[in-house]
Each structure stands twice: as structure tokens, then as C-alpha cells.
Symmetry: C2
């Protein structure tokens, strides 16, 4: 998602710090930080935050945390939360490469990966957010009943990711090669990208991976 | 595969009985029957037998058994083996529904399911050869290190099958959404159907499922 550089983005984010979780010396204990016993779901690469906001509205008993690297994009997500006056979501300005430095192990109940960058070139494969190196980090973050829901329109990335999850010993369920044609998809939150893809008739793939016991 | 009814098919098969394994009162102990310690691979729905024959030639140290329900089609496979003078393959005239009556448990090292009938209607789903009811039977037949390789051009069947394997607790590897574009596919045996599909540019899906330990 291309957005114009905004030299005031940091300042504008700081003014909305109530929506943000900041990175401390030590990883955050999310449950303590949010003072909650409720489920905490994390979206990695939250973009402009449409999916997270829809989920937060639909599920007021769940806490949502959106992680985004590009500050202008993050600002857009935070502004959306502000505008909608959402009370159950927070954002982090984070590089997913360092996600393990943000939260203590076992503190996240579910992770959403929506339309991650496919990094199609073989030499860039380690940048894919479903590369085994990342999956190992996510597994650490997740509770024993934790799960990862992965959605993409990119078939090559889907194939790569499915195999990566299986190789890393995750249990995979509900593999959908054409998610929008599945009855379960009705009314389920969609990202900005997803709407665009769907209108073009492109198929969306989805799977859910569970932490092995 | 439509073939003309051949009232003499049974007679013609009987004349080629050296290629056939017959169904006994009790399940066959394949290893004893074939007097072998070598690996035994079974193709369920072997059709006209092109895949099995190619595999038998490429892997003389492996025994191949092809199962086919339609006697005219089976005859075509057996005739091919005869013509090619293959020494490491056998055929059974079998209904896969009763496959467990054919062989003793743990007697098969690998199973091939190639381009099985997709049975697209929901009410026919139990006929799909990757329905959990079938997978349970296959698991019984397989050795502890056994595997099932499944290949199809039908995306819906592939999705159904992948989920069925995962739900039945199989470990799945090497999921290929476009098998022929994968470097590993080079030189690997193809079925008659597969060649036709490939020429039309249709994509072939493949996965390998392992018996869980």
C-alpha cells in the first residue's frame, strides 16, 4: 500500500498514544498491560486497519492488537479506531522481524496474517511472514490453544505457507482454496485489499494453523 | 473413462491370470503372495495402467499393484503389462469400497490416488476415494512408514481431500497447487488423463500424506 511520506506522522501518532502500545526494555506482558483476562488477537501487518476495526466491533469481548511497520499506514489505522471510538483495540509500530521483543511468550491467543507481501523472488523468501523463521516466533507468542489464520490471494505464497506450517509441525485446518465461495465466509470481516481482489473475481485462499500439543 | 462393454473381458482377464491377484476368503498377505521383502505400492483406480507401467519400469525394485473396478479398463492395463513384459506389477479387479478385504493390515508401503472421480455433489461425497471413511481403511493397509500420494486436476476435490487427510490426523507434505510447474515433477510418471489435462493447460494439484506415528 503506497502512502505519501508524512513527516508529521510520528507526532500525530504520539498525540494518539492512548491507542498505542510502546516497546519497552523488556517484552510487554500484554495481559497485564491491557488489564484483561479476555482473548487477545494480534494482526501482523494491519495496514489501514479495516479488518481489525471490523473485528473489534463484531467481537467486543476480544482485545485486538494491530502491528504495522509503515508509520503513515499505522496512523491511518489509529485514526480509524479513534473515529470509530473503538475501546478494544490497540496498535504497535513494529517490525514483525522483532515481534518476539514486543510481547512475552504465550501472551497471544490468535494471530491474523492477512494478505502479507508475497516476496515472490526465491532470494527474498525469508522475508515472507510465513517463513519457518517467523512461524517459530509466532509459536512462542501463542498460548497453548493458540492459532494463526492466514489469508491471501497469492497462490504461490499460499502453497509456500501451507507447506511451511506443516513442516513446522502446526496442525492445519479449514484449508479454503476459494474462501469467498465458502458459506462460512459470509459476513466475515475483510481487508481493504480483499474487497478489491474479490471485486476483480480473484480467489482468496485461507487456512487456520494450530499450535501442536 | 468410457470403454465399450466387452462380454469377453472376464475370459480375457482369466487368460492373463499371471498378472492378477485374486480375492481369497481371507485378506491376502501381499508380501507372502509376492514372495518379496521389497516395497509394495498400490494404485487405487489404476485405469488403463499407464502410470503403473511407467512406475514399474522406472523402479524395478518396487512391486506395483493396480486396483481397478471396471473390467474392460483393467483388461487394458493388464494387456499393457503383458505387452511390456513387466515383471514387477500385478492387478486386482476390485471395488475400493472393499479394499480392506483384499490385503492384510500393514502390507502396503505406499498408495497412489491419481485423478479419482471428484463426485462433485455433496450427497455423493462418501464415494470420493479421499473421504475419511476411505482414509481410515488406507491407514490400516499401510506400513508404519506408509504414505499416500494424491494427485488431481479437480480443485474442489483437492481442497476436500487435503482437509480430510488433516482431519484424519495424517501428516501432509509437499502440497503442490501447480505440480507440473514444480521442478520435482520433471520426468515423473503421468497418467493418461494427466497428459490430456496438462495439454489443455489445466493445473494439477498434488500432496503426500503420511501415517501419523
Amino acid at each position: 500500500m503506497r502512502m505519501r511520506n508524512n513527516p508529521r506522522a510520528v507526532e500525530q501518532l504520539e498525540r494518539r498514544s492512548k491507542w498505542l502500545i510502546s516497546k519497552g526494555e523488556e517484552p510487554n506482558d500484554l495481559r497485564k498491560h491491557l488489564e484483561t483476562e479476555r482473548a487477545i488477537h494480534l494482526e501482523l501487518g494491519t495496514g489501514k486497519g479495516r479488518f481489525l476495526a471490523q473485528m473489534a466491533i463484531a467481537n467486543p469481548d476480544i482485545w485486538y492488537v494491530g502491528a504495522e511497520l509503515r508509520k503513515e499506514v499505522l496512523l491511518s489505522a489509529v485514526r480509524k479506531a479513534e473515529r470509530m471510538n473503538l475501546s478494544n483495540c490497540r496498535y504497535i509500530w513494529a517490525n514483525i522481524n522483532q515481534i518476539e521483543e514486543w510481547f512475552v511468550p504465550g501472551s497471544v491467543d490468535g494471530i491474523y496474517l492477512n494478505f502479507s507481501d508475497p516476496w515472490p523472488k526465491h532470494r527474498h523468501r525469508k522475508r515472507r511472514l510465513t517463513h519457518p523463521n517467523f512461524l517459530k516466533k509466532y509459536r512462542e507468542l501463542l498460548t497453548p490453544d493458540g492459532w494463526i489464520q492466514f489469508r491471501t490471494d497469492n497462490e504461490k505464497l499460499f502453497e509456500f505457507s501451507l507447506n511451511a506450517f506443516l513442516e513446522e509441525g502446526f496442525r492445519v485446518r479449514n484449508v479454503r482454496l476459494d474462501w469467498h465461495s465458502h458459506p462460512d465466509s459470509e459476513g466475515v470481516a475483510r481487508t481493504e485489499y480483499e474487497e478489491k481482489f474479490a471485486r476483480k473475481g480473484q480467489r482468496i485462499h485461507q487456512l487456520t494453523a494450530f499450535v501442536p500439543k
